[in-house]
Subunit: 152 residues, 2 copies
Amino acid sequence: MADNPPFAAPGTIVELEEGLALTPKFDAGGLVTCVATDAATGEVLMVAHMNAQALAKTIATGEAWYFSRSRGALWRKGETSGHTQRVVEMRVDCDQDTVWIKVEQAGGACHTGRRSCFYRAVPLGQEGAVTLEFREERVFDPKAVYREKPRT
Amino acid sequence: MADNPPFAAPGTIVELEEGLALTPKFDAGGLVTCVATDAATGEVLMVAHMNAQALAKTIATGEAWYFSRSRGALWRKGETSGHTQRVVEMRVDCDQDTVWIKVEQAGGACHTGRRSCFYRAVPLGQEGAVTLEFREERVFDPKAVYREKPRT
């Protein structure tokens, strides 16, 4: 399924911005950026990348697939951890180089054990070195979930 | 202000993920990704990039600054259009290559005139070519706002 992704090459700026065809503008590495938010709360859970195959599989199955830049591999979110993402809605941005998925997240999205990868706040209104503030507890133990396996 | 951004170089993975220092992991182009969401609704408004100076200015001022890859220039969001973003909260992700800002958006975030850049939905559950569905009306007329000026 979806081994030959059905996307045509991007057209003009007007076609990209105002057209009805999904023609993703993949970067030099063949990737688009994907923002995953919690469909219930709006919280940003993670930002990752999709190649054409990952994007096509996500559209076809309604489950989030990504492309891991560090491992150079297609990756079904949660295939190791069980922390899958069911996609409730997908949006594409004006120039079609980024997609936004609203998901139902099983467990936690972050390989560190937190629900969201954005578990630290950056205080505003200062000009010197910045000290982060932790805002989330772990929802799972990453050592127990991943052991020696890849982090998914 | 903030012409010499105060960020130290990234350390080990453990320091990046569990540390208290903001040490952004800029890409080869000197950029981190930034997701801006509506602080009230959770809607993703736009995804753009910040260099060290833009990030430092955003932290110091509480107004969103970006770096335009197409124009190769620092860019205060709304400096042409008036559609500024007041940052209510900033988060950084586990490996510190992406920030998330929750903003109060004046007018619309998208240069096409919509409130969000993600004004088209991608239908799920299909394997062929994908036809997008418009989900948002324009909230301003981009021709009237930008005329011959840069799109900000």
